[in-house]
Amino acid sequence: MALLTRARPGRVRDRDGWWAAFFLAPQVVALAVFLVGPLCFAVVLAFMHWDGLGQKEWAGLANFAATLSDPQFGRAVWNTVKLALLTVPAGLGLALLIAIALNSVRGGGFYRVLYFLPVVTSSVAVALMWQIILAGDEFGVLNTSLERWFGIPAPDWLGDPDWVIVAIAAVTIWSSLGLNVVIFLAGLQTIPPQIVEAARMDGAGGLRIFRSVTLPLLSPTIFFSSVVAVISSFQAFDQIYVLVDPEYNEGARTIVYQVYELGFLDFQFGLSSAAALILLVLTLLVTLVQFAAQKRLVHYDS
């Protein structure tokens, strides 16, 4: 045993330092070159006027001032927040319901596959499939059926700036539902059945067990999923870009689209970077708020 302890990795510090450097090198170099470097450059660019061709010019805070006072950017922020509010609580709530149903049913594996299908499907294909369902013209399946069967005149989901975010939110929930379902299901399966049994023996009903046993024990998983869901809704781009071109529908303009348009359609690299940094700060702020709320709402077993 003494021999084993002496041979424990990490005893010869010098040599191990070199080995650590060797093992870490590919990831560290890639991270530095393709992530940290560009991030620093983005911060510098945000304080510059530059169209990619002429001289770079120091701009001070002008890019941030211009971005923050631009009504179009204001709309983009509002649309981004609206999308998160529409997708995160509804999406996670629905996923939780389905996961609980799956957990209490025999032979749930088949449903799991059905709900997971959209997760592995290309976001572009998802957008195209939904385009024909939501289309406002005579091709639209949803509106034609609403009108024919129920006599309800429906809005032009993809064309009406007031409704387009709702349509995007519905597609987003549909396509990300399966991932949250299987994560919650995996979380539910880690709950020891004895605890649920004990609660039942003490006379707790289904709802009471949900509130006092399932929810607290699942809360770390729900918390993690909510952080991921907010971040990914802030970054949503693919489906919006394909489903509705925000260039023609201001209602679908999000911060990410603004970054894309300013950078790659208008070549305003400074303005684009400023908008991107504001997105980063917004993401960090919301995550911080979530972590603060977690202290009060999330139960970690001790």
Binding site: W19, Q27, V105, M129, V141, F224, V259, A276
Partner: protein, 273 residues
């Protein structure tokens, strides 16, 4: 107990059908003519079946080439991600070195940065390298993958350290320990990560959209986006035939490996908490 099971099954089936409907509608509509859709957008079955939508879609865009592009890019992504992130994960899990904890926190923190924040500088840098409109722009930068390092570190930590110690007593060096002892013991983790990395690369749209211009370099999602009703004349039959061509192979791959794919994605979701 019995009626409750039936009610649950009924609800889950209804939900499952709602999940399937867009796929089914895509397949059915991909065989319809524009005339039929105009006459009655709610008609279920194609009448007549317009098989020509498929050859027409294949003629309209070079799908065969796009398939090859998407496939080899994804395969290279998987290989590079697995090798480099397993190496880094090994260093974090098994080697003691100065600054180990700080570096790991930095790794985790970089995961928070949205790709859109760094995309403009990244584009400018890749342009300097001459990598714009080249597949290198999609293969090399994706090597940086803190999530993969984090995931594999969890798996390596679960491998008993005694296995490695025994190998070291037998005279194996660090690399032999890593390659012959640790890697074979984290095969499930490597499999899970490989699948996740493959899907991420195969479905990626934002970077190909920005970094590629030439049609012959296009990946499947990029080519498919050209069919969006927003950008071309609307022939939904053709659009959905193209979508089906793009989606059906991945659906088959998913159905074959579904258990492993779902379990690995669920585990990675739980592992991150």
């Amino acid at each position: 107990m019995r009626p409750r099971q039936i009610a649950l099954h009924a609800a889950l089936t209804a939900g499952g059908l709602a999940m399937l409907f867009p796929f089914g509608w895509m397949l059915l509509t991909s065989f319809k003519s524009v005339r039929q859709m105009l006459n009655d957008p709610l008609s279920w079955l194609p009448d007549p079946w317009r098989w020509a939508n498929y050859p027409d879609a294949l003629d309209a865009m070079p799908f065969g080439l796009a398939y090859w592009n998407s496939f080899y890019i994804a395969a290279l992504n998987v290989a590079l991600t697995l090798l480099t992130s397993a190496m880094a994960a090994y260093a974090f899990a098994r080697i003691r070195f100065r600054g180990s904890e700080v570096l790991f926190v930095v790794f985790l923190a970089t995961q928070m940065v949205p790709a859109q924040v760094t995309v403009v500088p990244l584009y400018l840098m890749l342009a300097e390298f001459g990598w714009i409109d080249s597949h290198l722009s999609l293969i090399v930068p994706t090597v940086a993958n803190p999530f993969a390092v984090f995931l594999l570190r969890q798996f390596i930590r679960a491998v008993p350290v005694e296995l490695e110690e025994a190998a070291r007593i037998d005279g194996a060096g660090r690399w032999r320990c890593f390659w012959n002892v640790v890697l074979p013991n984290i095969r499930p983790g490597l499999g899970a990560l490989g699948i996740i990395a493959f899907l991420a690369s195969w479905n990626s749209f934002f970077f190909p959209l920005i970094f590629l211009n030439s049609p012959e370099l296009a990946t499947v999602p990029l080519l498919l986006s050209q069919f969006s009703g927003q950008r071309t004349a609307v022939d939904y039959g053709l659009i959905l035939a193209a979508s089906a061509i793009a989606v059906v192979p991945t659906l088959i791959a998913f159905l074959v490996g579904q258990r492993r794919i779902i379990n690995s994605m669920a585990a990675s979701g739980l592992g991150g908490r």
